[in-house]
């Protein structure tokens, strides 16, 4: 456990978010909605994340991440009455556990080979092939935990989709805390990755790809929570990119700023869900009056605009830092990340406008606002205000001296001063996106983004989260039952289903093999023994018995014969003695 600049920043961030999450969980949930259980696991998640933020030991990272994963299992699968929810919780858990295995590899290699769990020592002392193994473990782990491609699927699992009932608000609340933790792991392990030539570029490209594709996915989601979930994966892509480019202060600034405004948005979604009963984007405008928290729309807007990167909010500042780092390395990378930023601005504007604008004409008669307890409102309002304020505070990073101080606090390679034109370009882009989206919305269509701009199949593909499940399926079953695979592609959870089926199939096969073959072997041996015994009784026994009989008969006859020399006649005894004597002499002569 250590408490350096990075730990300070991360722990303060986590504490603020946890405070807000705690207030909302306490205020919004009724006792019979599992409030206690939800708070218990949120606290556990908070505690583990906090511990993770204050360590430079792979062991502590492993332990805390195992606990984080466990709480996610509980919080994503919170409603145990619904088998579907429980299954998605378990699925998310297995994704996270995959990441834990990566961390396990890194920790075991660190201690087994270098004799230490300390990250800096591991980076310095681990000899060549082992360092690569550890780095692969860390990259897999970070990618899985940050929901990067191809592991992004689990972010969806907590939130349901239109075919399935909504989850408990525990999922968005957990996600608020979780968004901070993932990228942080990378910042801490930067030293190990930086010791290798190829590790950082891999990270960068995974990050760019995720930022772009998951951004597009977010753009076409129809549910606020799903939009936020895919957005989180996409934004974490920026973090991976920043770490990969070595811009640690920028990465940390991004983690913190994103943590605040994304928590604000997740909490808003949780409140909408709890009070309005839905988070469908199309219905947001109708839900807003039902929320009845003063300034809810405005506070939500702060979060959404910050995400969009509208100046002067924090999203604009931190995204600029990351893009500046990209500009410094590779124009192509810069172009792609700029695109990702524009996409972010588009979907963030979309959620903002859908929240603000009045509902389409036919729905004008708004449902009356339900009477809410004042304390509930105050708690949730306080939570949102805290996060909005934190978002505004993070915006001050645009001021150069503040940023210098920040970079000193974080440590790591010297921060780049982003060129001014880039800052302006970013801001203008975000504003333009906001404007464009407003215009589109004016067409009175609730999903303008899918009309005419991109082909239908592409939008559908994005809406299904890139068919990640199917993509993985394709990887897993290269050349194996291709036809069946294609048929199964219809199922949205084809990959997981396939993995399960295959494993079950193999298990069932092994288990039947186990029962039939391996178990039968000894049994057959036993049966064979019995058969031999029976055969022996029937056949061999007769032979043996007759042999024994013959022996007894021979002995008996021998006895009879032995009596015959005893004739009682003396001369015959003498003759016998002579013969015996002669034979004795003969044998003595032979053996001499």
């Amino acid at each position: 456990m250590i408490f350096d600049g990075l730990a300070a920043i991360m722990s303060i961030t986590l504490c603020i978010i946890a405070l807000a999450v705690g207030l909302v969980a306490y205020g919004e949930l009724a006792r019979e909605q599992g409030r206690t259980r939800c708070l218990v696991f949120l606290t556990l998640l908070f505690g583990a994340s906090l511990a993770a933020s204050m360590t430079t030991s792979l062991l502590v990272l492993l332990i805390t991440w195992e606990i984080i994963a466990l709480t996610i299992w509980q919080l994503f699968g919170f409603s145990w009455q619904r088998p579907w929810r429980v299954r998605s919780g378990a699925r998310a858990y297995l994704f996270l556990r995959t990441g834990d295995i990566g961390l396990y590899v890194a920790a075991a290699v660190g201690f087994g080979v270098a004799g230490t769990f300390e990250i800096s020592q591991v980076a310095a002392e681990l000899p060549s092939p082992w360092l690569e193994v550890a780095a692969v473990g860390l990259i897999v782990s970070a990618a899985a935990k940050s929901a990067q491609l191809p592991f992004s699927l689990w972010m969806r699992d907590g939130f349901g989709d239109e075919n399935n009932p909504m989850g408990h608000v525990s999922a968005p609340l957990a996600a608020s805390l979780l968004v901070v933790a993932g990228g942080y792991l990378l910042v801490r392990c930067y030293e190990i990755l930086a010791a290798l030539e190829w590790a950082l570029p891999v990270l960068t490209w995974v990050g760019v790809a995720t930022a772009l594709l998951m951004g597009l996915v977010a753009l076409v989601q129809r549910d606020l929570r799903l939009m936020l979930a895919s957005s989180s994966a996409s934004q974490k892509g920026f973090i991976l990119m920043a770490v990969g480019l070595g811009a640690l202060p920028g990465a940390v600034a991004f983690i913190v700023a994103h943590g605040f405004f994304k928590a604000l948005l997740f909490i808003s979604a949780a409140i909408c869900q709890q009070r309005g009963g839905t988070t469908k984007l199309a219905l947001l405008a109708r839900v807003r009056p039902q929320v009845s928290i003063p300034g809810f729309g405005l506070l939500f807007g702060v979060g959404a605009l910050a995400l969009a990167g509208v100046p002067p909010l924090s999203g604009w500042v931190v995204k600029d830092k990351v893009l500046a780092a990209a500009l410094d390395v590779d124009p192509l990378m810069y172009g792609l990340s700029l695109m990702a930023a524009i996409i972010t601005a588009l979907y963030a504007s979309k959620m903002a406008w859908l929240m603000w604008l009045p509902p389409p004409s036919e729905d004008r008669d708004v449902l009356p606002a339900p009477v809410e307890e004042q304390t509930k409102n105050r708690l949730s309002l306080a939570a949102m205000v805290v996060l909005a304020a934190a978002t505004l505070v993070m915006s001050t990073l645009v001021i150069s001296p503040v940023h210098t101080q920040w970079a000193l606090l974080v440590g790591g390679p010297a921060a780049l001063a982003p060129p001014l034109w880039q800052l302006v370009l970013m801001g203008l882009t975000a504003l333009a996106a906001l404007f464009v989206v407003r215009r589109w919305h004016g067409t009175d269509s609730l999903e303008p983004w899918s009309l005419g701009i991109a082909p239908r199949w592409f939008v559908d593909w994005l809406e299904r989260w890139l068919d990640l499940d199917r993509l993985l399926l394709a990887f897993a079953s290269v050349g194996n039952k291709m036809i069946r695979t294609l048929k199964n592609l219809d199922d949205r959870s084809a990959f997981v289903e396939f993995g399960r089926r295959t494993t079950l199939g193999v298990s069932a096969m092994l288990s039947s093999l186990d029962r039939k073959l391996v178990f039968d072997l000894p049994r057959q041996t036993a049966l064979a023994t019995l058969a031999i015994a029976r055969w022996t009784t029937k056949r061999a026994e007769v032979v043996v018995e007759s042999a024994v009989e013959m022996l007894t008969r021979a002995v008996r006859e021998g006895g009879h014969n032995a009596r015959r020399p005893q004739t009682g006649l003396l001369h015959q005894y003498y003759a016998q003695a002579t013969v015996v004597l002669a034979m004795l002499i003969f044998f003595l002569w032979l053996t001499k």
Binding site: W73, W80, Q81, S507, D514, P522
Partner: protein, 498 residues
């Protein structure tokens, strides 16, 4: 002291034999009292045990001097934790038995006799005494399965007895082989390990190790000689399963460390890779087959194969002939011993829990289970705690053990260690799915009047949970005892190290 510890349950059983069988409750409470005294005795021994000072509390009495057989017992850092685990598991089993209905007297007597024989195996320092306790354990367990088991108990008990008895014979063969190679001839483990009787014996030594190895492997059990385990577990009563998995399986791995490694170090080093391969195979095979099981008890039985696979992997990896430091090797052995203790406590409880589920629902089949959390939230809670402990979550004993096993074996056998880590992922899936299938989902009509934990069940579970949580949270207390003894074992091996 040790002798008292070992024979107290036997004496108690002899004394209790004269009580009338009608007083069932007296037997139950006396069983708890005796096993509790055992735990106290172990605690006393532990408190005056000096870590790193070799074998302690020795008693040495000549028994058959012409053959060099002696009643020689003692404990060191490897056997003491197993003795402690055994005594705790027997206490929990005795508490659990408080709710036992049929033929209580006989059951209690057998349980106490079994405790004597189990403890005897771990403290014996003479091969003949070891073998004696080893076989008596089989017989006691045979009766427990055959008399208190489920429908197909006779067959399962017979399979168990014959299969493991074949292992015993192989073991006996190995023991005689060791005896014949020793000079002066002795069965004393301490003397033998100092003598290294199999040094430079070539093929003969290898055959003797093979005989010993087959004996231990059947007991552990390692793939492919594990098939006696699932039927024995499925048919055994809950307490029988708990002891079988918790204590009897440890005898195999304990034998590997105490006899195969310490008395035949040269051969063990030569063939360590076989242990590594079989260990990894057992890990993955056990986990995969567990995933495919339709019945809760069979599933838990197969996870035992998975868990014991880690132990075999570790003790193999510790001896593989590649450059690695002594510390890393000792770490693997420490991890292996910790894993034995952890598995005893965790899987012991898992089997008691399967008994609790069976008592309430009359089935082990997943198809007929579900939604139990509506009526038995506490049962679901202890099952969840035990399950996450079983798949190695930090804060529980298995994590401590498995981390050491991986850190200790990744330097010597990296591919095997990484493959074995995948086992962690599969077992996580196994248990998450198990909890889901038994407890979650809509409530079921047929279980509507099922009651939650009884006091005795709750106490039995609490004892074991406390033990494995304590090891998970504060492992130093246990590791300080094991680590020096593990180093001693490693020093016997002819492997170099910086």
């Amino acid at each position: 002291m040790l002798t008292l510890l070992v024979f107290l349950p036997l004496l108690a059983a002899l004394a209790l034999a004269f009580l009338p069988a009608a007083q069932a409750s007296a037997f139950r409470s006396l069983a708890v009292i005796v096993t509790a005294i055992e735990v106290v005795l172990v605690a006393l021994i532990w408190s005056s045990f000096e870590a790193g000072a070799g074998i302690q509390f020795q008693t040495h009495i000549e028994w058959i001097p012409t053959l060099g057989v002696a009643y020689h017992v003692g404990v060191d850092g490897i056997s003491l934790p197993l003795v402690a685990m055994t005594s705790i598991l027997f206490l929990a089993s005795a508490v659990y038995t408080l709710a036992h209905e049929e033929r209580v007297k006989e059951f209690v007597l057998l349980l106490l006799v079994l405790e004597t024989t189990c403890l005897g195996v771990f403290v014996a320092l003479d091969l003949i005494v070891f073998y004696l306790f080893w076989d008596l354990t089989l017989i006691a367990m045979f009766f427990i399965i055959a008399l208190w088991g489920h429908e197909d108990r006779r067959r399962a008990a017979l399979t168990f007895l014959i299969y493991t008895f074949v292992g015993s014979l192989a073991l006996l063969l190995g023991i005689i082989g060791v005896y014949l190679m020793s000079e002066p001839r002795t069965f004393d483990m301490v003397a033998l390990s100092a003598q290294n009787p199999l040094a430079e014996t070539g093929g003969v030594g290898a055959l003797i190790l093979l005989a010993l190895g087959v004996g231990f492997a059947i007991k552990t059990p390692i793939f492919p000689v594990h098939t006696w385990l699932p039927p024995a577990h499925v048919e055994a009563p809950a307490v029988g399963s708990a002891i079988l998995a918790g204590v009897l399986l440890k005898m195999g791995t304990y034998g590997f460390v105490r006899i195969a490694m310490a008395i035949a170090p040269e051969q063990w080093t030569t063939y360590a890779m076989a242990a590594v391969v079989l260990g990894v195979f057992s890990v993955l095979y056990g986990a995969l087959v567990a995933l495919g099981q339709p019945s809760l008890k069979r599933l838990v039985a197969y996870t035992s194969i998975n868990h014991m696979g880690y132990v075999v992997l570790a003790i193999g990896a510790a001896a593989v002939m590649v450059p690695a430091s002594v510390d890393v090797r000792a770490l693997a052995v420490t991890g292996a011993v910790t894993q034995m203790v952890a598995h005893g406590l965790v899987t012991g409880l898992l089997f008691l829990i399967t008994g609790m589920v069976y008592r309430r629902t009359g089935t082990y089949e997943f198809e007929r289970l579900g939604g139990l959390v509506w009526v038995t939230p506490w049962l679901a809670t202890i099952m969840s705690i035990t399950a996450i402990a079983s798949f190695g979550i930090p804060g529980f004993a298995h994590f401590v053990a498995e981390l050491q096993i991986f850190a200790g074996s990744i330097a010597t056998v990296p591919v095997a260690a990484i493959l074995a880590m995948l086992g962690l992922l599969i077992t996580a899936g196994v248990f998450v799915w198990t909890i889901q299938r038994i407890f979650f989902g809509p409530s079921r009509e047929e279980f509507s009047d099922v009651a939650d934990l009884t006091a005795s069940e709750a106490i039995a579970a609490a004892i074991l949970i406390a033990a494995f949580v304590f090891i998970g949270v504060y492992p130093a207390w246990l590791l300080d005892v094991i680590a020096p003894a593990a180093s001693n074992v490693i020093e016997l091996l002819p492997v170099g190290g910086p």
